[in-house]
């Protein structure tokens, strides 16, 4: 049990959090690690609860566990039952499992229901210096607050439920430093995509990323969530940012955040949570923020990313035969020819939402572009799906819903929605979608769907123009 306040060796932020959570050091370099917070959703948990029952095991710390239904929930009228029988069954199974094991559950009609990675920070459930897990690969989102947060599989969910620990090996550490300042029209999503592009989809395997540098310091907490969210798209199970005054201000007063003497202790502890000056990372990547343009993906891996003003790359010009083969398959699936301009690719669907980009600042950025404009007639569906009930209420208080509706967008109820289409929100086969989500995998948004990942402002601009367009060059509203 290392004391955070008295380091004997120069340590990274990651090492400090890790050391503070070691329950027991095991043979062969494994550590039994305490888990402070566990988020549960309906898709990855049923088999874990089933296994607990089969083994006659209980939940050790139900009070540190919070469940919410997000993947399967419809984003239309919440007063009607879920039409799809398997989705309805999965959502109702979460409710009954939580009731049986004494876990708090925010059901589909709860006012604070939302995407698991939006409600964790929003509720003050996520804390700097804590270890948080969830059966979902985008759990790194919570690293924006300086939590060590990572996605786990169902067997690990079962392990956490039964023991409130995980048996883990320490990861390697990587510093991703983004220097300078971002240009006009460039935001956290572009930085996230730039990092994935630079590292490649597997470049972060085995690493925990710490994001630092002027660009990250200048980011809001929500922008840091967007950045950390996509660590997994580079293979890193976890991404985090050292807590600062913005972090403390963000957490203060949230419903589940510490209060009284606990709050004072917490703030004192969080002040020690930065990488020591002499600490050594296993790898360092440095990017210049000023060189990052609005980015768009052209292929079927998040590493298939290019600047809005660049052409679709030519696989024949790629030196690595494995990458060239993957690019060829990707362009065939995407029905794109090498060399064509990305700016101008027509789209039929727009999705503004997901755990990457469904918070209030994302909706404000998209609404800023949508204000006074109309969605192009060639666009079949343009969805705006807030990340939580709280985000939705805030947006409506600011009149963002009216801006979207007046422009021809659909204003929906919170959930994962078209990011992975487990609910009825899907991209039809062969159609293209400008999407603020995190994955452009084959079939991700529906069988045969073609996804282009981009920022909320770029997605709104694509909706207005009916094609991917450079938001920086959008004509002003007359």
């Amino acid at each position: 049990m290392g004391e955070v306040t008295a380091p004997t060796l120069a340590r990274t932020l990651y090492a400090k959090i890790w050391d503070d959570h070691i329950v027991a050091a095991k043979d062969g370099g494994m550590d039994l690690i305490w888990i402070d917070r566990h988020l549960v959703h309906e898709v990855s948990s049923p088999q874990a609860f089933e296994a607990l029952r089969e083994a006659g095991r209980g939940v050790r710390r139900a009070d540190l566990t919070l469940a919410v239904a997000d993947h399967n929930v419809p984003t239309t009228d919440r007063n009607r039952p879920i039409a799809e029988p398997e989705s309805a069954a999965q959502v109702s199974l979460l409710a009954s499992n939580c009731a049986a094991f004494g876990i708090e559950h925010l059901g589909m009609r709860h006012p604070d229901q939302g995407i698991v990675h939006v409600i964790g920070p929003e509720q003050g459930f996520t804390l700097p210096g804590a270890i948080l897990v969830c059966g979902d690969s985008h759990t790194a989102t919570h690293g924006a607050l300086g939590a060590l947060a990572f996605g786990i599989g169902t067997s690990e969910i079962e392990h956490v439920l039964a023991t409130q620990t995980l048996l883990l090996r320490r990861s390697k550490s990587m510093l991703v430093r983004i220097d300078g300042t971002l240009g006009f029209g460039v935001c956290a999503k572009d930085v996230a995509l730039a990092v994935v592009g630079a590292l490649g989809a597997g470049g972060g395997n085995g690493f925990v990323i710490e994001y630092a540098g002027q660009v990250v310091r200048d980011m809001s907490i929500e922008a840091r969530m967007t950045l950390c969210n996509m660590a997994i798209e580079a293979g890193a199970r976890s991404g985090l940012v050292a807590p600062d005054a913005k972090t403390v201000a963000y957490v203060r007063g949230r419903p589940r955040a510490p209060s009284g003497a606990d709050w004072d202790d917490a703030v004192a502890c969080w002040a020690t949570l930065s990488t020591d000056p002499d600490a050594v990372y296993d790898r360092t990547l440095i990017l210049d923020g000023a060189q990052i343009a609005p980015l768009v993906t052209w292929g079927t891996s998040p590493e298939h990313v290019a600047a809005i003003d660049a052409p679709v790359p030519d696989p024949e010009a790629m030196a690595d035969p494995v990458k060239a083969a993957a690019a060829r398959r990707a362009l065939e699936y995407m029905d794109l020819a090498p060399g064509i301009a990305i700016d101008g690719i027509s789209i039929e669907n727009v999705f503004i939402g997901s755990c990457t980009n469904s918070r209030i600042e994302d909706l404000r950025a998209a609404a800023e572009v949508a204000r006074g404009r109309k969605v192009a007639a060639t666009v079949h569906q343009a969805l705006v799906v807030p990340g939580s009930g709280a985000v939705k209420r805030q947006a409506e208080a600011e009149g963002l819903d009216r801006i979207f509706i007046d422009a021809g967008f659909e204003w929906r109820e919170p959930g994962c929605s078209m990011c992975l289409g487990m609910n009825p929100d899907k991209v039809p086969p062969g159609e293209r979608c400008a999407s603020t989500s995190n994955r452009n995998f084959v079939g991700r948004q529906g069988p045969g769907a073609r996804t282009h990942l981009l920022s909320p402002a770029m997605a709104a601009a694509a909706a207005i123009c009916g094609r991917i367009t450079d938001v920086r060059r959008l004509e002003p509203v007359a």
């Binding site: 062969g28 398997e86 989809a201 395997n205 589940r256 209060s259 995998f441 084959v442």
Partner: protein, 199 residues
């Protein structure tokens, strides 16, 4: 967990880099609430092609898969590991694996073997004709014609696989350490030892 010592059989020469878990197990299959019977959905989009590598007479039910770099990237869905196990696959050989998938595979008794791309290329070729033998005790992959590669594995995972250990039972045997940590934390890290529930 089913113990793993040696395995000999047909290897499916799949290849392909960055195969994500959406490819291995599309999201519509995630609505299933059992870990069994997911095999029919494994690699569903690829298997719509009648000439696919998984359903040929030779490869159907094969116990070994040879894949490309960063296999299992993306979503944390353990359904991907369950589906692969349901196909009958007990070992996957690739240049490297995504972290979460690697954990999920291990917990379902699937051995992952990382070998350099040049070795993978040789195995992809050999697998079209020859059986492959994996020996976990001696850390070798051998083709029927005698091409041999040595590999290394995480010592903890190897031990669990060889002995078929249940990880939760191992952790619960550490109950005293758990109680001790929890007590220390409640006193010294009260801010994270409990939720601050307001209103």
């Amino acid at each position: 967990m089913k113990a793993f010592t040696t395995l000999t059989g047909v290897a499916i020469p799949f290849g392909h880099a960055n195969v994500d878990t959406d490819i291995i197990m599309p999201s519509r299959w995630l609505k299933k609430t059992s870990r069994y019977g997911l095999g029919p959905g494994a690699f569903e989009a690829i298997r719509t092609d009648p000439a696919n590598v998984f359903d040929s007479e030779r490869n159907r039910g094969a116990p070994i898969l040879i894949a490309g770099a960063n296999f299992g990237c993306g979503s944390s869905r353990e359904h991907a590991a369950w589906a692969i196990a349901d196909l009958g696959i007990r070992a996957i050989i690739a240049p490297d694996f995504a972290d979460i998938f690697a954990g999920n595979a291990f917990k379902n008794g699937i051995l992952l073997i990382a070998l350099p791309q040049v070795a993978i290329d040789q195995l992809l070729d050999a697998a079209t004709r020859e059986d492959i033998t994996i020996d976990l005790q001696n850390h070798t992959v051998t083709t029927a014609s005698g091409i041999r590669f040595a590999f290394s594995t995480d010592p903890f995972r190897r031990d669990c696989l060889l002995r078929g250990l249940d990880e939760i039972a191992l952790t619960l045997a550490d109950g005293d350490a758990l109680d001790c940590y929890e007590q220390w934390m409640t006193t010294n890290r009260g801010w994270r030892a409990r939720q601050g529930l307001r209103g």
